[in-house]
């Protein structure tokens, strides 16, 4: 593949070390921000809007449109803030880690461009606490950037002044939710905030703020360098750009690949992940992290982009797939997922803190052989209970996506648990009831 068709990962070093500042610049780094500084903020926003860039954090919201709500100009409130969402805690997701560890300067440059577009003066990298290596590398990159005068004021010979700080999180999935992230940055409990008002008008410390996923930000230098049309042209189907796709589970070659947006699911699975491990068959998959609906083998033709995965009844999410094989218990898998979500519920809204734990306990009972038909009705009810709009934030609605689709696609497995009064996958020589076996 032509390198310019893998803009985000083109320059990764084969030894896995991070690109240093000189290395990054040799590969054309920090040209995007220089270019952006020649544009007015409005022009950058228009460029990004035209590029069709949609947020890579999971929701796929058009990035340029998001920026357009930030008040600009001398009358706007100050300071404005930018936060790079590097919290990556969605189970099955490991894409931002690569960018953070391998090309920290690409992230910083993306942040500079975003900051320029919304006239932000202060930015934070909100990094997952467990990403120790990434923290070291970002810290080093920040030191290099400050030393080079790219940060801190009057940078690039322009009236560009940006401070970027690294904040490492103390851990909670909710910190990745953009308003929970703001509370965490303010040193508070990471409960979400009501929307409206949106962070674009009242965000961090009450000021206009943009929160953007790492991968999203990393796209920016390339969009500025090569233009909106180029970026659009990278996509194979409905959406623009490239995407970091990943696969985990019992495939032959679990991994992460930058590919054109809209690469078909089957291609990812067969060509890149090498297909299922020998002797195993594909039962289903979560296309983009734990909080997306299952897709099944009949979806292998679906182009993996926001638009098409949604048409198929799921969400692209983070684009990192979790593969379920035919020897692993789907009920057990959903139990594991709901346990995660119930544990990470912030405890603010009732459907989430009560519904998710209820679902987890019911699923645990299934795995113990104590499930009943009436429990299926209860699970259906919990899915409805936690529907979008019913809860305060998107955690719970996301949490019940795999549950809801599992109830649909793996109904027979649930019934088998009831009938046999045990997990049918457990105990057998090649069965895998998963974690608790």
């Amino acid at each position: 593949m032509h390198p310019d068709q893998r803009p985000l990962t083109r320059d990764l070093r084969p030894d896995g070390e991070a690109l240093s500042l000189p290395g990054y610049e040799r590969a054309g780094g920090y040209q995007g921000i220089r270019q952006a500084l020649r544009l007015a903020p409005q022009e950058i926003i228009q460029l990004v809007t035209r590029s069709g860039l949609r947020g890579r954090g999971g929701a796929g919201f058009p990035t340029g449109q998001k920026w357009s709500f930030v008040p600009l100009g001398p009358a706007a409130p100050r300071p404005k803030y930018l936060a790079a969402n590097a919290d990556e805690m969605e189970p099955g997701t490991f894409k931002d880690r690569l960018l953070l560890e391998a090309t920290p300067h690409q992230l910083l440059e993306g942040m500079m461009i975003a900051a320029r577009a919304i006239e932000a003066e202060i930015a934070y990298v909100f990094l997952r606490g467990e990403y120790v290596l990434a923290a070291q590398r970002i810290q080093r990159a920040l030191a290099e950037a400050y030393a080079a005068g790219y940060l801190g004021g009057h940078s690039f010979g322009a009236d560009f002044s940006l401070q970027i700080y690294l904040h490492t999180s103390a851990g909670r999935y909710m910190c990745g939710e953009e308003t929970g992230l703001l509370n965490a940055l303010e040193g508070k409990r990471a409960n979400p905030r009501a929307k409206p008002p949106y962070p674009q008008t009242s965000g961090l410390f009450g000021k206009p703020t943009i929160v953007q996923n790492v991968e999203t930000l990393c796209c920016l230098p390339h969009i500025v360098n090569h233009g909106a049309e180029w970026f659009r042209s990278l996509g194979l189907a409905a959406d623009a750009g490239t995407k970091l796709y990943g696969a985990s589970g019992k495939v032959k070659r679990p991994g992460l690949w930058e590919l054109p947006m809209g690469t078909p699911l089957g291609v990812l699975l067969e060509e890149h992940a090498g297909g299922m491990r020998d002797g195993l068959k594909l039962r289903g998959l979560l296309p983009g992290g734990a909080s997306t609906d299952f897709l099944t083998p009949r979806h292998l033709d679906v182009p993996m982009d926001f638009t098409n995965v949604e048409k198929a009844g799921s969400r692209l999410g983070t684009g990192t797939m979790i593969i379920l094989d035919d020897r692993t218990c789907p009920v057990g898998m959903v139990w594991n997922l709901e346990d995660f979500f119930a544990q990470e519920s912030c405890g603010w809204c009732t459907p989430c803190w009560s519904g998710l734990r209820w679902a987890e306990r019911i699923l645990a009972a299934f795995e113990r052989g104590q499930g009943a038909e009436s429990d299926l009705e209860k699970l259906d009810w919990i899915v409805k209970f936690c529907a979008p709009g019913n809860t305060f934030c998107a955690l719970a609605p996301g949490a019940v996506e795999p549950l809801s689709s599992a109830l649909r696609y793996f109904h027979d497995d649930f019934l088998a648990h009831i009938r046999e009064r045990r997990c049918p996958y457990r105990g057998g020589s090649n069965g895998n009831a998963g974690g608790e076996s």
Partner: protein, 896 residues
């Protein structure tokens, strides 16, 4: 107004509000938990879900949380939609996962919002079959009980305690379905408003620990509409009685005053009524410390004889009703009626009344909306506590106004707080020592009262050139005056708060000058609030008593509901009572004065009595008895009437009821005639019936006295009010002044107040109770006061001794309540660290305080906030002699 369609019915509603607020205002039964009328919306519980439709053709609609959804003109919503109904029942089901099914043994049972909402949503079957989580409870002090297993995670407690009341020793811990609300560790809740958790919590996590010791279900209590007796703010509350015991106090909504919240002194001070120190029998002193009980009639006759003989003077009381004070005034004659407060205090009360005739005082609700505040001299939290809670809200006004362009409605509480962050409107506090509001102040300044007054005069001078100048003001103080003046003059609703705590006329005059200067510069919304010490301080002053110091010389002396040893120095009181003089004391509690009395007449405690208090605004408010006084005890005014009857005094002899007395008062003192309108008269009836004091589920009525008589006795008569000591009566909504308790079908908790308001958080139906007695006269706003005090001249070897107020301890009656007594400080003497150092003294050491040539030994406390040259003692503790403070005193190392 906007029009919305609720289940296809067009309704006119406030367009600035959210859907929950307007639905409740319209009278719909829409359940909720996390929303609170005074705390706003945060969208946590998801209980208030309704269906919202795009237009008249949309049949699907989507669920929205009513509390989080702004009213939009033409919006169509459904409360009855099946999805909404199912979802709301589901929320209860979720909350019930962990909620113990302990209603029969729960103090909240029968007045539980969670119970009400459970019934309202129709959730009646438990599908959740797994174990419940359990928590360890905490000891939170003698006032509030903690039972965390009942928690439903609505976050109301922490929002009230931290965000509304400013408490910082309480929080939410943990995450998911294991969220814990409490303190970092066991210990007494520090906030003075902690007791409101009882009513803020929709279930039984926080309950009244004093009530627990003599617990009775809400439906078994006999309530009365009442007014708090523990300070001069005049909060409305409902005392509840059963079997002759006063068992608890709950808040009684008043839009202008307490709204939904009381202070802990008002809520928990009530137990003085049940005190062992209650006087229950008339008694005659026969020798020092020897008594002989007396039946009521001979007791009245004894007093009647003295009255007939003529040489009797009377001393009134700021904690007795207007009516009782008037009865005394009538009994002894206006020239022989003396104020039961110090001369200085009387002078200040008259000044306060004069100022109210210039300009009405702000209500508490108005104080909440002040956008710049100066507190001059008053430790409001400790002298007029509920006022402090309102002032705390004022600092939010300016930041909230700045949010207007962001279109964040004020009721969207967390969004508004997040947008405003730590920004606070201008709030200045100039007091002798630190106060509990200092945390919200932009600047504080601690100085002696005279210096504070000079600051106040200087502020007025900056605002208006024609105000008197302050000579020799140190430049930093002048600069501070400039900043305060700038903040006040650029505000839309500036507020000055002062009071009587410092016993300084100059302070009040300086405050008045500032208010006047603001008004003269066209700030029509500028307000002045003056905190007065006691429940009827102003009422006493309005009866125009003579100064206490002039009380002397008569044969006999009647002291009404007052301990003179709190009012004047012991030597002065001793002298007043010396010789053959007869002292007649009417009161409900034993105290040093009653111990010296020749005749003691047991007076009804306020919860057994009717009468009128006049609060800091000059608002006359009537309180009613929760139960008749037991045994021989009766209202002070009835004792005085009986005595006058014995003395053949026509005017009073015929008083059968409080209304008769009030009619006399209105004739006698026409200026006070509006007091008649404070509440409907005793012959007021609703559809021919009285208003029941007992909820209609009051149980055991036929059995309650079965040990005495198997036939049920008739309820006690009540000639003084239109209320009945009964569950029988008219079930309709009475006028607000006569509302004994809040209950409505389906609403057993205090949330039932929703049903009594014209609009949520608005006035009670039929208008807010009380009448302002001191309506401003149509005359010019008055002139500036010109008596600027000179700078404080320190004295060698002497300290200016200041009173330091304590919400628990400084007020007399509440100290007879065990829980409050437990929280009262021990006597102490406070010095700044530097001053203590100059004397070579250390904290905890005994020091001798010399006053009036006598030494008192006190334990030393270091208060870094005290200004140099000043010392402080806790005000009002019985262990300390009544001190006319501020005063100069010597301090030495003590002995032992």
């Amino acid at each position: 107004m906007a029009t919305i369609y609720v289940d296809d019915r067009p309704c006119r509603v406030d367009p600035q509000q959210n859907l929950l607020h307007v639905c409740l205002s319209l009278g719909f039964n829409l359940p909720y938990f996390c929303w609170h009328p005074a705390l706003g919306s945060v969208g946590a519980c998801r209980q208030c879900a309704v269906k919202l439709f795009r237009d008249a053709h949309d049949r699907r609609g989507k669920l929205v949380m009513a509390c989080m959804t702004p009213v939009a003109d033409g919006a169509r919503i459904s409360l009855a939609d099946p999805d909404a109904l199912a979802f709301r029942a589901g929320i209860i089901e979720g909350m019930m996962h962990n909620h113990p099914h302990d209603c029969p043994v729960c103090d909240e049972g029968g007045e539980c919002h969670l119970q009400d909402m459970t019934v309202m949503t129709g959730h009646d079957y438990r599908r959740y079959s797994f174990p419940k989580r359990t928590f360890r409870n905490q000891y939170l002090g003698p006032l509030v009980n903690h039972e965390m297993n009942r928690c439903i995670q609505c976050y109301r407690c922490v929002r009230f305690y931290r965000e509304y009341a400013g408490g910082r020793d309480f929080n939410v811990f943990g995450i998911r379905n294991l969220v814990y609300f409490g303190r970092y560790q066991d210990g007494v809740l520090e906030n003075e408003f902690a007791g409101n958790l009882d009513e803020v919590c929709p279930t039984g996590v926080f309950t009244d620990a004093t009530h627990k010791r003599h617990y009775t279900r809400k439906w078994d209590l006999q309530f009365a509409p009442s007014i708090c007796i523990h300070c001069g703010v005049g909060c409305n509350l409902s005392p509840g009685e059963r079997y002759g015991l006063l068992r608890r106090i709950v808040n009684r909504y008043h839009q202008d005053l307490n709204s939904y919240f009381l202070c802990d002194r008002g809520r928990y001070g009530y137990e003085f009524v049940n005190s062992e120190s209650r006087l229950r029998q008339a008694r005659l002193g026969i020798a020092a410390g020897k008594w002989q009980s007396l039946a009521a009639q001979p007791a009245a006759a004894w007093l009647g004889k003295l009255l007939a003989a003529g040489d009797v003077i009377g001393i009134g009381s700021p904690r007795a009703s207007l009516e009782a004070n008037y009865a005394l005034r009538l009994a002894v004659g206006p020239r022989r009626f003396f104020a039961g407060v110090s001369d200085v205090e009387l002078r200040l009360l008259r000044l306060a009344a004069d100022l109210l005739r210039r300009q009405p005082a702000p209500t508490l609700r108005e104080m909440e909306s002040a956008d710049a505040v100066l507190v001059l001299g008053e430790d409001v939290t400790n002298t007029a506590p509920r006022m402090a809670l309102s002032l705390r809200q004022a600092v939010r006004q300016q930041p909230l106004a700045e949010l207007e362009p962001l279109k964040i409605p004020v009721w969207l509480d967390h969004a508004a707080r997040e947008a405003a962050q730590e920004r606070r409107g201008p709030f200045y506090i100039a007091t002798p020592a630190a106060t509990r509001l200092d945390d919200i102040a932009a600047e504080t300044w601690h100085a002696a009262p005279g210096e504070l007054a000079r600051l106040g005069f200087a502020v007025a001078r900056v605002l208006d050139e024609s105000a008197p100048a302050v000579a020799d003001l140190p430049p930093p103080v002048q600069a501070l005056a400039g900043r305060i003046a700038a903040a006040l003059s650029s505000a839309r609703r500036p507020l000055v708060v002062s009071g009587l705590a410092c016993r300084s006329a100059a302070l009040l005059e300086a405050s008045a000058n500032i208010a006047l200067a603001l008004r003269r510069s066209r700030q029509d919304h500028a307000r002045l609030a003056i905190a007065v010490p006691e429940a009827n301080s102003l009422g006493l002053a309005l009866l125009d008593p003579r100064p206490l110091s002039e009380a002397a010389g008569a044969e006999a002396l009647i002291v009404l509901e007052n301990d003179l040893y709190r009012r004047a120095s012991a030597s002065w009181v001793d002298e007043l009572l010396a010789g053959e003089r007869r002292l007649i004391a009417l009161d409900c509690l034993e105290h040093p004065t009653t111990r010296r009395a020749s005749l003691v007449l047991p007076a009804a405690a306020w919860s057994e009595d009717e009468g009128t208090f006049v609060n800091y605004e000059g608002r006359a408010q009537r309180y009613f008895a929760a139960c008749p006084p037991p045994g021989e005890i009766q209202s002070s005014w009835r004792w005085l009437r009986d005595a006058m009857r014995e003395a053949g005094r026509e005017a009073a002899a015929g008083w059968q009821s409080l209304d008769d007395l009030l009619a006399g008062l209105a004739r006698d003192l026409p200026a006070l005639a509006p007091v008649l309108n404070a509440a409907p008269p005793a012959d007021f009836r609703m559809a021919g019936a009285r208003i029941p004091r007992q909820p209609h589920r009051y149980s055991g009525r036929t059995a309650i006295l079965a040990n005495l008589d198997v036939s049920e006795p008739p309820p006690p008569p009540d000639p003084d009010s239109p209320l009945a000591y009964s569950m029988e009566g008219n079930p309709d909504q009475p006028p607000a002044a006569l509302l004994p308790f809040a209950w409505a079908p389906g609403w057993n908790s205090y949330q039932a107040w929703n049903k009594f308001q014209e609009e949520i958080y608005g006035p009670l139906r039929g208008g807010n109770p009380g009448v302002l007695l001191l309506a401003p006269e149509p005359r010019p706003a008055g002139d500036f006061f010109r008596n600027v005090p000179p700078p404080l001249a320190g004295r060698d070897g002497e300290w200016l001794l200041l009173p330091l107020y304590h919400i628990f301890g400084s007020e007399m009656l509440s100290r007879y309540a065990p829980a409050i007594r437990q929280l009262s400080p021990a006597p102490y003497l406070a010095l700044s660290a530097a001053d203590a150092g100059s004397l070579g003294l250390h904290a905890g050491e005994n020091v001798a305080l010399w006053l009036d040539g006598r030494a008192i030994t006190l334990s030393l406390k270091i208060r870094p906030d005290l200004p140099p040259g000043c010392a402080g003692v806790p005000a009002g503790l019985e262990a300390l002699p009544a001190l006319e403070l501020p005063a100069w005193s010597r301090i030495e190392r003590g002995h032992g």
